[in-house]
């Protein structure tokens, strides 16, 4: 066990704390701002490796993005893994390497961790938990309750790539697609946006439950209505096609590298330009606006010319039979 940890994790992560706790000088943190952001997330995905990423990359991006939505600069992560007996060491090694590589590219350090092995059947191959700390940039305070009528809604890129890639990669649909997960760390993209529009009202990565869920939460918390235009919402043709076949709605598909931002209406152009200046935001789009009508509701003008409510999702999206 000790050998496994030494060999796989320390080898990949480098300077992991040899003590029970990693330590950081407060002054080092305070250099970035006055407010600490702290988050944790657990990752359980099947399959462990999918087009565009793997559970390791996902575990780093997910926590980095959660910190980014608070307007924080992510600094340090922890990494806890629970392994099922019998998991191939080569696969574990690949996933840990991917984690280390993603963290390196994102400029965050994995400073502490833990490994447990459980008997066969007690977990599904490999579970990962990451916690992260970051420091909130000075002068920003995005919040789901801060949207006001007149604000506009932006997304950083096409929706549903991750959800579609995972569905296809599970293989039980026998569907082939070229879609890759959008899994990516978004803190630099958020940094550009906050530099350009410090008054950004709301930021959220549209993970489980997709865009629809994020906007419903914001509409409810801010007591505003949100009006979307379907023609403005970017969705790749391959994802639309998959959704058409399965009877799914791309607005509810998970994303792991897409940021939803609400900014004041007069900052729309600046925000869009800032997002598009980032390599991960080239396909950013303005998709809707906040209104005083129907507080708590998200409504969409359909491409066909109709109008419908975009509700919260109940449970999982289930494919329709006919």
């Amino acid at each position: 066990m000790k050998a496994l940890v030494e060999d796989v994790f320390v080898g990949a992560f480098g300077e992991v704390a040899r003590e029970d706790a990693a330590t950081t000088r407060l002054a080092e943190l305070a250099a970035h701002g006055e407010t600490l952001a702290f988050t944790t997330d657990s990752f359980v995905v099947t399959p462990l490796v999918f087009p565009g990423g793997d559970i390791g990359k996902l575990a780093v991006c997910g926590t980095v993005n959660d910190l980014a939505t608070a307007g924080a600069v992510p600094l340090q992560l922890s990494c806890s893994v629970i392994l099922e007996e019998g998991l191939e060491i080569a696969l574990l090694r690949d996933i840990v390497r991917s984690m280390a590589e993603t963290a390196r590219q994102a400029g965050v350090r994995i400073v502490t961790g833990d490994t447990k092995v459980v008997p066969h059947g007690a977990c599904d191959r490999l579970f990962v938990n990451t916690a992260g700390i970051g420091v909130v940039r000075r002068g920003v305070a995005p919040s789901s309750a801060a949207c006001r009528p007149g604000d506009v809604v932006l997304v950083s890129g096409p929706l549903g790539d991750h959800g579609a890639a995972i569905l296809a990669a599970r293989g039980d649909l026998a569907l082939e697609t070229t879609v890759e997960s959008d899994c990516a760390p978004l803190h630099r993209l958020v940094g550009r946006l906050l530099d350009a529009v410090p008054g950004t009202c709301f930021l959220r990565d549209a993970t489980r439950g997709g865009l629809a869920t994020v906007l419903n939460e914001a509409a409810a918390a801010s007591k505003v209505g949100i009006e979307l235009s379907e023609t403005a919402v970017p969705v790749r043709d391959a994802v639309r096609g998959l959704c058409e076949i399965l009877g799914l709605d791309p607005l509810y598909l998970a994303n792991e590298g897409r940021m939803v931002a609400v900014v004041p209406g007069d900052a729309a152009e600046a925000a869009l330009a800032a997002l598009r200046a980032d390599p991960l935001g080239r396909e950013a789009a303005l998709i809707g606006r906040c209104v005083a009508d129907r507080p708590g509701r998200v409504v969409m003008d359909t491409a066909f010319g109709g109008r419908r409510i975009v509700d919260m999702l109940t449970g999982e999206q289930l494919p329709r039979i006919c």
């Binding site: 649909l173 639309r240 359909t302 491409a303 066909f304 109709g306 509700d311 449970g315 289930l318 006919c322």
Partner: protein, 374 residues
Amino acid sequence: MRFVDEFRDPALAKTLLREIEALAAEVSAVRGRPIAIMEICGGHTHAIFRFGIEGMLPPSIELIHGPGCPVCVLPMGRVDDCIALAEMPGVTLATFGDALRVPGARGSLMEAKARGLDVRTVYSPMDALAIARAEPERTVVFFGLGFETTMPSTALTVLQAEREDIRNFSLFCNHITIIPTIQALLDEPDLRIDGFLGPGHVSMVIGTEPYRFVAERYARPLVVSGFEPLDVLQSLWMVLKQMRDGRAEVENQYARVARDAGSRVAQDAVARVFELREFFEWRGLGTIPHSGVRLREAYAAWDAERRFLLPNLRVADPEACQCGDVLTGRIRPRDCRVFGKACTPATPLGALMVSSEGACAAYHRYGALAREPA
């Protein structure tokens, strides 16, 4: 996206809507009351809400969302039988995904799965047969449901099981047929349906001939319709045109997919494997003669109802539910006394709140904006 976007063209929609408005004005001026058109099929209900079609129509047209959602009309007792099957030792119950949430008296299959029973989602009955092939130690029961749309694939699966002599596979058959139910609706004493959009995918299998009685005996226009929003608008336009001209005919808007003769291959497979039941119970509508099918005696070896002892209990629909009144167009979903209160998509009480094709679930999810109190 080719073959999809062409059928969602907003400019064409505007043109059609102008014509629909003119026709509806003409027809309703003579009648002095709104025109009630029922879309029979849940697939149409889904499209109508998803594309916001209802709000685009003139107020003189009222859409009544019909009983053509197989998940919605599944009676509680049949779900209980499914759970009883899944509780038998060694049984794997294979089901379509959207049947998972349908509540029985003893909860849903989703809850049964959460209790640890072996309930698996499949996308085709052939997937269920594949499980039986790969896991010979399991007894695999496929929960077959749907109208004539899904009946042929179930029939072909049973024939395949026979060919390969796979004995650890069986079918719990809940397939139903739409024609007797349309007839039952038309026989309602307070019928207020002026015309129908006919189910496109069912017609792909059975053709358009079986609807002839709707036009001939009940003098109601019926237009077999596709599922894209322009299909729905064009079909409404065709129904209105018949009404304006004083005609009642069966017309086929969906001829690109549904032939007037239907599919011989599919019909043959269905006829070979299935026979009509004397009665079948529909949630919200009660028992309707000759509205369900079961496996023929020759396929008894693959018939779960013959192989296993099932509770087979009739469970009355919850009293507060008014699904039947919604299905027959007497009230709108929002007028039901439990809509959005005791009955929501997360905790459906009535059948129509269960599937995304159910009228109430669609109202709850997509809303009827025009009629929503501000």
